[in-house]
Symmetry: C2
Subunit: 220 residues, 2 copies
Amino acid sequence: MPYTYDHPHPAVTVDIVLFTLRGGHFEVLLIRRAQPPYEGLWALPGGFVAIDESLRRAAWRELKEETGVNAVYLEQLYTFGRPDRDPRERVISVAYLALLPPGTARVTADSDAAEADWWPANDLPALAFDHERIVAKAIGRLRGRLGYSSMALQLMPAEFTLPELQAAYEAILGEPQDRRNFRKKILSLDIVEPTGQTSRRGAHRPARLYRACDRNVRYW
Amino acid sequence: MPYTYDHPHPAVTVDIVLFTLRGGHFEVLLIRRAQPPYEGLWALPGGFVAIDESLRRAAWRELKEETGVNAVYLEQLYTFGRPDRDPRERVISVAYLALLPPGTARVTADSDAAEADWWPANDLPALAFDHERIVAKAIGRLRGRLGYSSMALQLMPAEFTLPELQAAYEAILGEPQDRRNFRKKILSLDIVEPTGQTSRRGAHRPARLYRACDRNVRYW
DNA sequence: GCAAAAGTGTTCCAGATACACCCATGT
DNA sequence: ACATGGGTGTATCTGGAACACTTTTGC
């Protein structure tokens, strides 16, 4: 059933840059394209915005459809609209940044996508469309916010130790942090609270467990 | 001539929040709508994105068409896409933030718009659509960046005094700044240089004139 | 000489950085 | 006992905030 308009309309998609931490590595979810254009290349998960759903909802739905993932955090990133960014038709893409705690959900490509997999955010394969720019922008946004927001907690499991959180910061920022200063900074942000438990695995002193504070701090 | 698609496409518009300083007041350009919906209400300048132009170019063109204005600064702000934001059809709007030095261009509404005028940014009339939210977001963005960018210089004439620049900051932030601290901060940002001239009008000590540094500092 | 605005310097505080030692556990 | 990683405190530096007096001009 065709849809007709007086003047040409671009297609509108959402693309999602979904970050997670796997085995201490900072990674992005990519889908291998099963169809042209860019067949066989890796691309961000995403798809068309349905005519009656919000952009945010579209991002959430696409992520779930393509990967089985329920992201816990979703933030609009930027809108990419150069006329030539898709060779098929004019496509304007509203990019979202999403965060997922490790081990939350199984990533399973649906029929649309040949394959879904995690890639190191700092060492990506060739990407379809302008998705490399989108990922770069997402990494910049995340890094910029780490210092003064609780965003990073969205990449952590329900309970975690401060050394684990520090390792997460270091994986994202790509540079080591001083342990004492890191600890002071996080505690002064007042975004975590101790559970009272400790994590004792390994031949050394156990680390205290923390959780994110109830009142979820605003990111913006 | 109709345009037909397999699945429904939203319309995509750009809306521009154009700020300026007029007579020391922080103001936004609004257009009075000549047609329904929201006929007679004030709205942001904007319009449809042509099928072969970039979003940025569309913003620039619409601003010029509707107001005769060549903004000197244009930055993508956010994309607004709630399904019910326009009663006619699904419209996704990519909002831009624009800045204009005072007295640069004449604001003249074209045939599309009944009337174009400047309104105090902090005391707006009722706006059409979700434009109040858009303006609020733009003000937030501008205020947030003032402290560490040279954005404010885009609201100044080619030559200006530091007290004039301070007055601009105060108009935008809505709160007074300490003169000595303000001066130190601006000079340490290294975004202005003295012209060597002074501005001597009024019965008092003349102020030194400055201009923006050649190498335009990045805003982001 | 006086009114009016421009220009300047110091003190203080808070947040960031640099840095080294003790603690709790498993083996 | 020792190896491993967790936990802590202090000195220093830097940037921001508070704050008052002198200078230059027009009248």
